[in-house]
Amino acid sequence: MSRSHRQEGPDRLYVITSGRSAGADESLDAVTLIAAESEPAPGMQSEHAEILRMCAAGPMAVVEISAHLHLPVAVVRILLTDLLDSGRVTARHPRPAPSPATPLASPDVLEKVLVALHNL
């Protein structure tokens, strides 16, 4: 939880999350891509504004936002949940990976394979 020495400031993590340590959107995981839907507004919490600025260029993974903000992922997820609730960002969830348990789980891929087979 220690932040780099250079980035250290007098503000603590619990103030940044307003005392919350849980309650983040469960569907947000480290590789969820976040896209900004609005511009940062004046008077906004600086972390929120920074997330919106970072994601304005293109969708960014949660883990990357966490790295650039120098904040733990759990804290970033709480901040992102705030932004998601106010509709300022949207989350794009990655597809489940093909694994031994669910090989080729994506119906899209299966459909594409079927179309390709038809075209043969």
Binding site: M1, R12, Y14, V15, L33, P59, V73, T90, P94, R95
Partner: protein
């Protein structure tokens, strides 16, 4: 001392014999013999001359007599004064200071001690009594203040120890999840921050320095949040900040501490359901921070007392024992040239305006600046120039632990559905066009990205463990 009446010693002078008057008495027979000896024809001039000499002699004797009496008077007076001074030093003053040390007020103690007859002595005794009483008051309130502060530290430390014990018991079983650990650590952090503030207050009141110094300017948002983090009820504080300035590093800690004490007062003396509003704005003279609470309206008298406490922050005699906050604010304000004003608030409570002078204000350092060397030395390219997905993938693919690899592949699989996988805006546009899938993937273990995050941050991996 010139108007002291010369009453002492006159009685003894009156008792003294008029010694010099014997001189003209002795010359009286000589005069009689002269009358008899001179021839009768020259008698008148001789008689007149000798009578004149006799008269002169009488006058001389009288004046000498008066002078001697005066000398005796003054000698007696000096002796009396010496005795008085000795009594003052050996008896009155020790008794007076003893009375005062026992807690008597200056007036009471003066009544109990016999007053010297000399008004000068009385004045000395009164002045000394006032001084000793003030010193005693100062000492007593300093002791009470230190004891109060130390008591608070002890109470908080006890709470912390109990909390730590509970946490050890809970996490020793290994059933706690990552969020719980984070929450517990935040809780601990909060307690420690409050302990730190109280310890800082003791340090400031005893003339020492606050605990830490910042090597760079600290933005106003961080200043306010740092102050919030040091009080108990920080969740009730609402910040309205549009200020983009920063406070110079040397004064940042003092300003944070000062603001924390003001916020603590505001939160403590207002109902636990009301909010405390903090408005930060840039003004001509510097930065004004207004703290408004919804508590009781302070009367004009209470406001005046608060002003006095802040103004005389260095005078420990004015501290009322349990309320250290304003004295700390006063000390810090004097040290850094802050101005503190009180007034009643439009919200119904009290408003405190803390004005930071222009000499403490610095432009806010951009945090992005020092990130460039990190990204240059590290692996991830800057977010604007390349696809974040690519960066995450490249990193995950090259140097992550096996559990992370399938997730990275999953991200790639999701992207292979696109007509063209290009970076930046293409990806964003394509992603926006596609509706977000309802089902989420399995939660990714963030531990696997510790290496990535540490590479970007330039430090050891320390990601919060959230095991799926």
């Amino acid at each position: 001392m010139t108007d002291i009446p010369l009453s002492r010693g006159t009685a003894s002078a009156r008792l003294a014999a008029p010694g010099w008057l014997y001189l003209p008495l002795l010359s009286l027979p000589l005069w009689a013999w002269t009358l008899w000896a001179v021839p009768p024809d020259g008698a008148v001039p001789v008689l007149v001359a000798s009578a004149a000499a006799l008269a002169a002699l009488v006058v001389l004797a009288l004046s000498l007599n008066r002078r001697e009496r005066r000398v005796r008077e003054l000698t007696g007076e000096i002796a009396g004064l010496r005795a008085d001074t000795a009594a003052l030093a050996e008896d009155h003053l020790p008794r007076l200071s003893e009375r005062l040390r026992q807690g008597d007020s200056a007036e009471t103690a003066l009544h109990r001690v016999p007053a010297p007859a000399d008004p000068g002595g009385r004045a000395v005794l009164g002045a000394v009594a006032a001084q000793i009483a003030a010193a005693e008051r100062r000492r007593a309130s300093a002791m009470v203040a230190c004891a109060t502060a130390a008591g608070r530290v002890q109470a908080l430390a006890t709470t912390m120890l109990a909390d730590l014990r509970r946490m050890q018991e809970r996490h020793g079983d290994g059933v706690g999840s990552g969020d719980d650990v984070l929450g517990d650590l935040m809780h601990l952090d909060h307690s420690t921050a409050q302990v730190g503030r109280i310890a800082d207050s003791i340090a400031v009141l005893t003339g020492a320095r606050s605990g830490r110094r910042w090597g760079r300017a600290i933005g106003m948002e961080s200043i306010v949040r740092g102050a919030m983090g040091r009080i108990g009820d920080y969740r009730r504080v609402r910040v309205h900040n549009v200020c983009t300035q920063a406070v110079a590093g040397f004064a940042a800690e003092g300003v944070v501490h000062c603001l924390a004490e003001i916020l603590d007062n505001a939160a403590r003396f207002s109902p636990p359901t009301s909010e405390v509003h903090v408005h930060v704005e840039e003004v001509q003279a510097g930065i004004a921070v207004m703290v408004e609470d919804g508590g009781l309206v302070m009367g004009e008298e209470a406001l005046e007392r608060a002003r006095r406490t802040v103004e005389s922050g260095l005078d420990l005699a004015t501290i009322s024992g349990t309320r250290l906050g304003l004295a700390v604010v006063g000390q810090l304000a004097q040290r850094y040239g802050l101005s503190v004003s009180f007034r009643s608030s439009s919200r119904g409570g009290t408003a405190v305006v803390l004005l930071l002078p222009q000499k403490l204000i610095k432009p806010l350092p951009r945090p992005r600046v020092d990130r460039t060397p990190d990204t240059a030395a590290g692996i991830a390219p800057p977010p604007a120039s390349a696809s974040p997905g690519t960066a995450a993938e490249a990193d995950a693919g090259t140097e992550t632990t096996p559990p992370a690899s399938p997730t990275a592949d999953g991200a790639r699989t999701a992207e292979t559905g696109l007509p063209q996988r290009r970076r930046g805006m293409t990806l964003a546009a394509a992603e926006k066009a596609r509706p977000a899938p309802a089902d989420s993937g399995p939660a990714t273990p963030t531990k696997g990205f510790g290496a990535f995050r540490s590479a970007v941050r330039g430090q050891d991996p320390n990601g919060s463990s959230k095991d799926a």
